[in-house]
Amino acid sequence: MSKAAELAALIGTGASTSKRNMLMNGDMRVSQRNGTSAVTVSASAGAYTLDRWQLYTNSGNYSVQQITDSTLPSGFLNAAKITVSSVGNTSGSGNAVHFEQKIEANNISHLNWGGGNAGTAKTCTLSFFVKSSVTGTYSVHFGNDNDRFYVATYTVDSANTWEKKSITLAGPSDGTWNTGNGRGLEIVWVLLQGSGGTTSSLNQWISAEDFASTSTTQWGTNSGATFFLTGCQFEIAGVAQPFEHEGFEQNLARCQRYYSKVEYSNWSGRVSSGNAYYMHDGLRQTMRANPTASILSQSQSSFPTDRSFGDYTTEGVGTQCTASQNADGAYWYTGIALNAEL
């Protein structure tokens, strides 16, 4: 297809020619939480690893790492690498290993999915580059967290080889689709799935929350197996378009709506024992919701290690610390992680 025809086709679908990828950090470049360190996610837990990407397991343990190497597809610097650390199994019908991203409802409202707005539900295409040590047919799940779900498959043809895959799905004309800052669409790369979450109703919208084909590859049962993913894009289009590369700072800023850090929240001064002192930190981006705070690092003099948090908004958070003794030159600092993931 010529560039002119490609552009005309995009305009015809109502797609934007800029910022058309509804997935964030699809090129796996942002990793605020862990940098390039591997993180092991143990059953039964979910953990955000690279920004916006969550690995969930309730069977087996898996490490996730932002990697770079010379074999990546042209134009890509990074990928997510998932490795089986301790194999899972399918003995439990609800067993699952999922690598996924949840898209905020605000960012899919233009799709007309569910028939809520005048106009036809848009056809969309998911595309991505994958490299797996295990060949076979894999599953991808799409779901609205309510009542509409869709399972499609793709095939890894050659082991340990980058392959580009795409899945095109017609938008649903019904279902209860959120609007606002809640969950809009969940896209799941299924790496293991017990029988309770499988279906033979593929490539169609269904009301049961199934995740995989009945014959999906159970990648998570293979000791030491690896699975790489990058170049993930979900867009309004009838066929996959080239990956939309964006500036690193734009990518990072978009991710910071969901996860951000206050590296050093500092307070210092003269204190009286038993009195509480406060610090309020503004955030780099307006977050999706009032964020959950957790302590990344801390140091203090004349204060205990305990912290309290409050005065939450989507743009800032307060810290309270109560002095343990009278002192001049008392201080505390706290590194804070702020999480507003979906």
């Binding site: 039964s44 837990a45 979910g46 953990a47 969550q54 969930y56 309730n58 609800g94 699952a96 999922h98 779901g143 967290d145 800052n181 809640g182 969950r183 969940e186 929350e209 509480a276 406060y278 999706r288 919701a289 009032n290 964020p291 959950t292 705070a293 957790s294 302590i295 912290r307 309290s308 948090f309 409050g310 005065d311 939450y312 307060g318 309270q320 999480n339 507003a340 993931e341 979906l342």
Partner: protein, 61 residues
Amino acid sequence: MINKMSITKAQWNEYKGNKKECIKATIDGVEMFVPIDEGNTEYAEIKRQVDAGELTIEDAD
């Protein structure tokens, strides 16, 4: 939606004299301070578990 959080402890946390400003919870093994905001994913899951009788929020220290 699969429940993708493991919440093993929840306790009200005091801030500026408000004994229920947020919830100090252990989620997936990490201590977190969760705001009272239904749009917050951790709070929504805590509320769901409390409503279902699966979790109790302890009083603040």
